[in-house]
């Protein structure tokens, strides 16, 4: 069954790729986390459909699959926004004022851990991304921004046209 696949996506081979990832691990339940990684990479988030499909294929109880998926912060059970700001809250960033960055994003966009209603921006926090030399750091759509200021965030937000 096509988990969450948009009906009009003829070249959607995500299902096949996910299947391949599972068969690479011989459909072993031990590979659940690897499979969830692949699924999230392909679909962006882990929908109930997707989790059910994985549970069936790996022959695992659905509650165990959701238990694992919800334990790890890397896995997202809800769709992410178009753009994601992840503020690092490691010690070095904290000392350099990362809380001020979270405050600014929460004021302009939405609470950390959520997505704006228009689906434009997701605000996340991370526990040390290991770029302490660049503190405070923010990951914007995968790229690390160094020595970020609240004003710098304002500029980024304006650039992408966030409200």
């Amino acid at each position: 069954m096509p988990p969450n696949a948009p009906a009009a996506a003829p070249k959607d081979n995500r299902e096949k790729l996910l299947e391949r990832a599972m068969s690479r691990h011989q459909y072993s339940g031990d590979a659940l986390i690897e499979v969830l990684h692949t699924a999230q990479e392909l679909y962006g988030f882990l929908s109930p459909h997707l989790l059910t499909a994985i549970a069936h294929k790996l022959r695992l109880p659905p509650s165990r699959v959701l238990g694992v998926a919800s334990f790890y912060h890397f896995f997202s059970l809800k769709p992410k926004g178009e753009h994601t700001f992840t503020v690092c809250l490691g010690t070095a960033c904290y000392v350099a004022g990362a809380l001020g960055l979270v405050e600014r994003l929460e004021k302009r966009c939405c609470k950390a851990g959520t997505t704006t209603p228009d689906g434009k921006v997701s605000v996340e926090t991370a526990r040390c991304i290991g770029s302490c030399g660049l503190a405070p750091a923010v990951i914007y759509d995968g790229a690390v921004l160094a020595r970020v200021t609240p004003e710098g965030l304002d500029r980024e937000l304006e650039r992408i046209g966030a409200k």
Partner: protein, 238 residues
């Protein structure tokens, strides 16, 4: 199998190799407090109420997971242990919404009994008052997350004895909660067999029979011993 002799609270006792401090102590009438342990299913050492002092060991040991050894000297009831246990129970009381006066398990609740036996008449911590739902979608049973202490007895009995693995734990830390299947209402669970084992092993009023009102819920743990003895020893006890 060899017999081991050890000392618990000044009393010389014996047990078989492989037995835990906890079970040997209970056999000899020394009732170490516990919440996550229940005979017949695996132990996880999660509640930390059964922590004991073992002479020669720097750290406290969880009695339910520590095997006895020859010549061991164990203390189960020192002032330090009592203080820790009391604080653990207070932490639980403050964690969710345990209001005995309106609880089906009032008078038959293991958490309440622990608090009573420790003389806890008030909680020194701030109550968290989290908002948790009550799931009454199942035909015969209900699940009140406000009364759950996350001992995972239900998860283990469902997996190990019933073999259904309907329950598991969602999330982590203080936000953890027990889920059935993919988090849908219990009544919609496809894997649940409706056996009710989870309800009987639940130490509090979190899992309960529907139709019971305040203080009416009495739990029957006898089935566990029956099943486990039948399975392991091929004996059918009455």
């Amino acid at each position: 199998m060899s017999v081991k002799t050890l000392e618990i609270d000044g009393k010389m006792v014996t047990g078989m190799a492989g037995e835990t401090i906890f079970s040997v102590a209970w056999e000899h009438g020394i009732h170490i407090p516990r919440l996550c342990h229940i005979g017949g299913i695996s132990d996880v050492g999660a509640c930390r109420l059964c922590m004991v002092e073992v002479e020669g060991q720097r750290k406290l040991q969880a009695a339910c997971l520590t095997q006895i050894e020859e010549g061991m000297v164990v203390r189960t009831d020192t002032p330090r242990l009592k203080a820790h246990r009391k604080l653990i129970v207070e932490l639980l009381m403050a964690e969710r919404n345990h209001i005995c006066a309106v609880c089906v398990a009032n008078g038959a609740c293991e958490l309440q009994e622990l608090a009573r036996s420790m003389g806890i008449d008030h909680v020194r911590l701030r109550y968290r008052f989290p908002v948790f739902p009550v799931d009454t979608s199942n035909e015969r049973f209900g699940m009140d997350h406000n009364r759950c202490v996350l001992c995972t007895r239900c998860v283990r009995v469902c997996d190990e004895v019933e073999g259904a693995h309907t329950w598991d734990v969602f999330g982590r830390g203080a936000g953890s909660r027990i889920i059935s299947d993919l988090g849908e209402p219990w009544g919609a669970s496809e894997s649940c067999t409706g056996c009710g084992k989870c309800v009987q092993v639940c130490p509090t009023g979190a899992l309960f029979d529907k139709g019971k009102t305040v203080a009416e819920m009495r739990k029957d743990r006898g089935f566990l011993k029956y099943i486990v003895t039948a399975r392991e020893k091929k004996q059918w006890i009455g």
